[in-house]
Symmetry: C2
Subunit: 411 residues, 2 copies
C-alpha cells in the first residue's frame, strides 16, 4: 500500500491501473447523509418514537456489535442469498477491522497458523506480520490444485507442531488475481476445512460487481458444517469513507451453536478494546440508504457496475489490439466481474519495472509479486480498471505495451 501511495504521489499525472479504489463519481455523499434521518426515525421505534431522543442516542456510544445488523442481514439475503440472523453479525470499522479481529482471535496461540493463497490480499498479510501470526502460504496454478496444495501445507504445518486455524480466501473476483473459484472447488475446500476444523475467512468485497454469467454461491451459503466466517464491506457498494464492514458468523460454528456465541463474545470484546464500536452516525447513514433502497443495493450499484464492466471491456480491447494473438508476449485473464485483471509477461515485472513504467511512460501498475510469497508470480502484473478514466485506458495500455515490447525485445 505504501508503494502505491508513494508512486501515485510522485507521478500524479500518470494513468493509474494501480489503485483498486471504487469509482468516486458514483458516490452521492450529500444524498446518503440525508438518509441518516431515515434511519433515526426507524431507530426511534425503540425510543417511544421520539426522534430527538433517537438522534441523541445515535450520537452516543452504543452496542459494540452494531445497530444496523438487521438491515445488513436483510441486504445480504436480498443481494447475496445469504440467510442469517442479525445476532450472527458484528458490525466493524471497515472490513479491515473484521479481518484483524478474526485473524487475531482465531490465531492467538503462538502455534496457530493462518493459511493464505499466494498471491493474496496484502491486508491480511499485514495483520499477520504486525501481530506475530504465522502465515502458511500455498500456491496453486489451477483451481484443481488448490485443495492438494492446501492439504499439503496443512500437513506440513502439523508435522511441525503447528495448528492451522483459519484460511483466508477471496473466492469471488479475487484481489489480486481477479479470478473466481468455481463451485465444485469451493465445496471441496469447505469439506476439507470442516473435517480439519479450519475456519474459512471468506472475504467478498467485489462479489456485487459481476458483469456476466451466473453468480457462484458464496462459500458461506454452501457451508453446512459451520466452518465459514463471511466478511463483508460497504466500501465498494457505498463508499470507503463509510468505514462499515461486518463479520458474519456461521449459525453453528463447527456444528456448535454455543461455540458461535462464544466466538462472537470474544470478537466483540476484542473490538471493544480496539475501536469501542463502529460510528453510529456512519451506521445510521448506511442504515438510511438500506431503508431507502428497501433492503437491496442492486439498483444503487448498477451504474458503477456498468462502468466497471465497460472499463474491463476497454482494457481487454486495448490489450488485444496491443498484443495480437500469435505474438504471445503477453497473456491475460478475462475477469467476469470485480476490479482487476492480471497480465503475464515473458520477463520479471517487479518493483523496478513498475517504477520505470511510472517514470518513463506515465502508467502505474502493481506487480503481483507484491502479493506473493514466492517467485511464482514475478512475471505477473495486476491492472485495476475500477478507478481509471475510460478515455485513458487505451492510452494507458499502449504505454504499458510499449514497455513490454521494449523489454521483451520485440519493438
Amino acid at each position: 500500500m505504501n508503494f502505491l501511495n508513494e508512486i501515485a504521489g510522485e507521478y500524479p499525472n500518470a494513468i493509474s491501473f494501480a489503485s483498486g479504489r471504487p469509482a468516486q463519481q458514483f458516490f452521492s455523499l450529500a444524498h446518503w447523509l440525508a438518509q441518516t434521518d431515515r434511519f433515526i426515525s426507524h431507530f426511534a421505534q425503540s425510543c417511544a418514537n421520539d426522534f430527538e431522543v433517537a438522534s441523541s442516542l445515535i450520537g452516543q456510544y452504543g452496542k459494540t456489535n452494531g445497530i444496523v445488523n438487521e438491515l445488513i442481514a436483510q441486504q445480504q439475503l436480498r443481494d447475496e442469498a445469504i440467510a442469517c440472523d442479525s445476532s450472527q453479525l458484528i458490525v466493524t470499522a471497515g472490513c479491515q477491522e473484521a479481518m484483524a479481529l478474526c485473524a487475531m482471535e482465531l490465531c492467538k496461540r503462538p502455534s496457530d497458523v493462518l493459511l493464505v493463497r499466494s498471491p493474496t490480499y496484502i491486508g491480511i498479510t499485514g495483520i499477520a506480520d504486525l501481530h506475530g501470526i504465522e502465515l502458511a502460504p500455498f500456491r496453486s496454478e489451477k483451481d484443481s490444485e488448490l485443495l492438494p496444495a492446501l492439504a499439503a501445507t496443512v500437513e506440513q504445518a502439523e508435522r511441525c507442531g503447528k495448528s492451522p486455524r483459519a484460511l483466508y480466501l477471496i473466492p469471488e473476483f479475487d484481489n489480486p488475481t481477479g479470478t473466481v473459484l468455481p463451485k465444485a472447488y469451493r465445496e471441496q475446500v469447505i469439506a476439507y476445512c470442516a473435517r480439519k476444523r479450519i475456519a474459512i475467512l471468506e472475504d467478498n468485497p467485489y462479489g456485487a460487481f459481476r458483469f456476466e454469467g451466473t453468480a457462484v454461491p458464496t462459500m458461506y451459503t454452501l457451508d453446512t458444517s459451520g466452518c465459514v466466517i463471511y466478511l463483508g464491506t460497504y466500501s465498494k457498494t457505498l463508499c470507503p469513507a463509510v468505514r462499515v464492514g461486518f463479520i458474519l458468523l456461521p449459525r453453528r460454528l463447527f456444528g456448535d451453536e454455543r461455540a458461535t456465541v462464544d466466538l462472537r463474545e470474544r470478537l466483540s470484546r476484542r473490538k471493544s478494546f480496539l475501536t469501542v464500536n463502529t460510528s453510529q452516525i456512519m451506521q445510521a447513514m448506511l442504515g438510511g440508504v438500506l431503508l431507502e433502497e428497501r433492503g437491496s443495493l442492486a439498483r444503487l450499484i448498477q451504474p458503477a457496475r456498468e462502468f466497471y464492466r465497460r472499463n474491463r471491456d476497454l482494457m481487454l480491447t486495448a490489450l488485444a489490439a496491443e498484443f495480437p494473438q500469435g505474438q504471445s508476449i503477453a497473456a491475460w485473464n478475462v475477469p467476469t466481474g470485480g476490479f482487476f485483471l492480471n497480465v503475464w509477461l515473458p520477463f520479471k515485472f517487479l518493483r523496478a519495472e513498475a517504477e520505470i513504467c511510472a517514470r518513463e511512460l506515465g502508467v502505474l501498475t502493481m506487480p503481483v509479486s507484491f502479493f506473493a510469497f514466492d517467485d511464482g508470480h514475478d512475471q505477473c502484473v495486476r491492472l485495476a480498471f475500477s478507478n481509471v478514466d475510460p478515455a485513458s485506458i487505451g492510452e494507458g495500455i499502449k504505454r504499458f505495451a510499449t514497455f513490454v515490447r521494449m523489454r521483451a525485445g520485440k519493438p
Copy 2:
C-alpha cells in the same frame, strides 16, 4: 464495560451513576452533519475549488494519518495551549484506537512492560490483556508517592529483565478517580521518564471540562525532552459517534526528530492494517464544526460543562446531606472538573454490593476495584455525574446512602 452494560440492561429504570458517557442532550447531530459541507469547501481548495470533486474524494479512502490534522493542531493550540505541527498528528478511530496503536507498537517485544497506576482506565488494561502486553501496575495513595511508587516498579521490572517502555496516565480528571495530578508531580514524572526513556501516554479525555481553578499545563506542554505522547478524543467535546481521536507525537522523540518520524510511520502502518483510515466523512464533520467554531471548541462545550458542574454540585450537596460531617461513614473527593468522583466507605464495595444497590435500591454505581490491580480500592466507589438527570441525583444519592448506612450498621 460488560458489567456496566449487563447491569444497565437489567435495571433500565435505575438511577445510573455508573455510566461515564457525555450528556447526549448537548449533541447537535443534524447541525454538525450540515457542517460537513463547510469542510468539503475548505478541502476543495486542494482540488481546484471543485466542490463536487472534493466531495467525491471525501467519500474515498485517504491518507492513513488523516485529513483534519491542521484543524486539530489549531484547536489544540487554542483550547489546550498545545503547540504542534499537523505532521505530528495521527487521526484515529476514537482514542481507543490511539491507545491500542501506541501500546502495541511501544510494547511489542515480550520483555516490554506497560506501566499503569492502580486503579486505571480499563480501556488500557483490556488492550494489554488481549495483546499479551505485560502490565506493571503501581499504587500511590498520595501524589507525593507517585514517583517513588513508579520508580520502585520500574526497578523491580528491570531486575526481572523487563523493559518498561511506556506509562499510561490520565493526569487531568482521571478515570476512575476524578483527581488532577499537580504540576510539580507532572514535572517529576516527566523528568524521571525522560531519563529512563519511558514514553508517557498522556490521555486527556476530560481536560476540556474544568469547572473552576486554573488549568494545569498538560504533560505534553511541560515536556522538553520528547517523552510525552498525547492522546486526544472528540468523543466528549463533540460526541462519541464521531469516533475521531488522535495521537500527538512529540516533536523530537527523546530528543530525536528522526525517531518521531520513524514512530509515526510505524504507528501509521499499524493503523493501515487495523482500520485503514478514519472515516473521512466523520473527519469532515469534525472539520466543519472546527471551521464553524473558528478553531476552538470552548463555546460549543460550554453548556455541557456547565451541566456537568451543576451535576457535580448537586451530587456533593446530596452527599453532604446524607453523610453529615462527624458521622464519617463516607468520604469523597471534590473533583474540579471531569465526569467522576469517588466515595470511600468503611466496608468493601465490590460486584456483589453494586448488584444489591442495583437490584434492591435502583441505583447503579461502579466499584473502583474493577479498575484496580490489588485490594487497595475495595472500599471505594466511582460515581459518575456526567450522564444523569439532575433531578434524580438527590434521590440516587439517598438510595446509595441508605445502602451504605445499612451495611455500615448505622441506620
